[in-house]
């Protein structure tokens, strides 16, 4: 074997070892962060917040309104689609993710504990990745669970048999699955946006409010501007179409494969930006 080939092989082995080491370090960060995020004092409001749709459906069960009959499957599906869009995605997931992800770095700065990561032999880019995935796991677990319980509570008044019929024989199972996918992707998309906001701003809630406004007027935006949002790509997954009102500017929905690709591209771009940002970040805890 020539020296050149040997060197090349050694480099490959080193590179593989390095990759596996980075993977191990990222996993360690994810584990540490998940523990912190699930049991930290900052998560308590999010537990309560994620229970809001559950509480709404629970109260709807306690005090059913005769005018809003869930008897017809199409009506029931449309009502749930509206609640999922308006309450779960646009409110609970949006604000829940803003809290979870902006606190990944901002919370550490407030607690004066960011230096623990910065003093470890870890590439700062891996800290961004580890924190992001831990936030994603925590937010997706909370909000997907909340969506599942909401679905169950929503269909519960129709009775066990009708619910099972809807879920297993009709289109219910596919719809339910798509709601969970939307909730998960919302965590994925909004999460990365809020992670960057937490790195850029001392008070990320102000830009988060601006993004909320932008996402809320998405239905009024011309087609090319609609694409500069997360909600536009999530709409591609809607199992039940919902009306956006008489003033909405209707645009051709983006195909699902393109929506997934777009969300991935947005996430990668923002994670690269966050990595660039964190490389030059200083710890002095005075700002």
């Amino acid at each position: 074997m020539s020296t050149e080939v040997k060197v090349s092989l050694m480099e490959q082995v080193q590179s593989n070892t390095r990759l596996s080491f980075w993977f191990h370090q990222t996993l360690s960060i994810i584990k540490l962060e998940i523990r912190k995020n699930f049991w930290g004092r900052r998560i308590l409001p999010i537990y309560l917040f994620s229970l809001t749709p559950v509480a709404i459906f629970f109260l709807m069960n306690l005090y059913p309104t005769p005018s809003k009959s869930l008897g017809h499957p199409t009506t029931a599906a449309t009502i749930f689609a509206n609640i999922h869009e308006g309450v779960i995605v646009r409110t609970i997931v949006f604000f829940g993710c803003s809290w979870i992800f902006t606190n990944l770095f901002r919370g550490e700065i407030l607690d004066r504990s960011l230096h623990y990561y910065f003093l470890a032999p870890v590439k700062r880019e891996l800290i961004v990745l580890g924190k992001y995935f831990s936030g994603l796991i925590v937010s997706a677990t909370l909000f997907i669970s909340s969506t599942v319980v909401s679905l169950l509570l929503y269909y519960y008044p129709r009775g066990y048999e009708a619910s099972m019929q809807y879920l297993l024989a009709g289109s219910g199972l596919k719809q339910a699955f798509m709601y969970l996918v939307i909730t998960g992707l919302a965590c994925f998309g909004y999460g990365v946006v809020f992670l960057v906001l937490g790195l850029l701003f001392r008070n990320p809630m102000i830009p988060a409010g601006a993004i909320y406004g932008w996402e809320s007027i998405n239905f009024l935006l011309p087609p090319f501007l609609k694409k500069v949002s997360i909600i536009h790509y999530l709409n591609s997954f809607r199992p039940v179409p919902i009306s956006e009102g008489p003033f909405a500017i209707v645009a051709e929905p983006t195909p699902i494969w393109l929506s997934i690709t777009s969300l991935l591209v947005i996430a990668v771009i923002l994670l690269v930006f966050a990595s660039y940002r964190i490389r030059s970040m200083e710890v002095n805890y005075t700002d």
Binding site: H115, P121, R124, V283
Partner: protein, 317 residues
């Protein structure tokens, strides 16, 4: 490669000066940063560990740039002044989590964690939550964390703060032991007599500028425009003073005679200590003066500090 090098390093916080034009090379052993609050001690330490980025200049730690944490923190341990810890963490878990980021296996981590806890005498409290620790224990757990991975460079920002005298003595002994093992120990402290006791070298900082560096005695010798004080106790103190003035070797002499005796003490101020010692030997031989004591009055760190840093440091020794 076996040194920490600051090459013309400046750090500004906006328009506020942190440190300016620092050129410094730190060899193995114990080096102490001395200076009043705001002198730039912590800034230098944070620059050395990459927590801050220099506005100008370059820092290398044993050949590694400070913007390469992956390599840097295999060699460096930093016990910072930040007195905050992740919530609900125990002492043991704090160190174990830190070592997990280094990539050590579970068994190895356990072994290294126990060793570090033992070195700071915190093994018994290891499974208690850090939030319940006393200030001294928190200081020690930070120290344990910084030495757990056996670094070659240990940076300690005010490491003796909050320690009771017993633990303080143990910690100083640990520092000396670590230095003996070939580590670079860089310490910042306000407690000058302790710095004096443990340091091989000192770096004096004032308002962000490095004003002097070297061994304490060496620094003192380099201060040429400040007269040095030397105490001489002998049997003919007045005669000695007169002879010294004749030779024009001293600038001031304070005579303190013992009551009813010819023996007395004289505190002499001179710009050229070496020449003074030579002349003194000659006078003693020529005049048959019996000298009991010759002692430099200001070779200790506090005196040097007063010379260099000024009255700001008075309350800190």
């Amino acid at each position: 490669m076996n040194e920490i090098v600051f090459d013309n390093v400046s750090k500004f916080y906006g328009e506020i000066l942190g440190v300016n034009k620092v050129n410094l090379t730190i060899a193995p052993g114990i080096t102490s940063f001395v200076g009043s609050n705001g002198a730039g001690k912590t800034t230098l330490m944070n620059l050395m560990t990459g927590l801050l980025r220099p506005t100008r200049g370059k820092i290398t730690v044993l050949g590694t740039a400070t913007d390469n944490p992956e390599e840097l923190f295999r060699k460096v341990g930093y016990c910072s002044q930040f007195d905050s810890f992740p919530a609900r963490v125990t002492g043991r878990r704090l160190i174990d989590s830190f070592l997990s980021l280094h990539g050590y296996s579970k068994n190895r981590r356990e072994e290294m964690t126990n060793k570090a806890l033992e070195r700071v005498n915190l093994l018994e409290a290891a499974d208690r939550k850090v939030a319940g620790y006393s200030k001294g224990m928190r200081q020690r757990i930070r120290l344990a964390q910084s030495i757990a991975h056996s670094p070659s460079v240990l940076i300690l920002d005010e490491p003796l703060n909050g320690l009771d005298p017993m633990v303080r003595a143990e910690t100083i002994a640990l520092f000396k032991q670590l230095a003996k093992e070939g580590l670079h120990l860089i310490i910042s402290s306000h407690i000058l007599h302790e710095v004096d006791m443990i340091s091989d070298r000192v770096v004096f900082l004032k308002n962000g500028y490095l004003v002097a560096e070297g061994e304490v005695q060496g620094v003192r010798t380099e201060i040429e425009n400040r007269p040095m004080q030397i105490l001489v106790r002998c049997n003919q103190a007045s005669k000695l003073v007169a002879k010294l003035f004749e030779l024009n070797r001293i600038v001031e002499a304070k005579l303190q005679k013992d009551r009813g005796a010819e023996v007395g003490s004289v505190i002499i101020r001179t710009y050229d200590a070496d020449a003074f010692y030579r002349d003194l030997s000659q006078i003693v031989v020529d005049s048959s003066i019996a000298v009991e004591v010759i002692r430099p009055m200001d070779d200790d760190l506090n005196a040097v500090y007063q010379y260099l840093i000024g009255s700001e440091g008075e309350g800190q020794s």
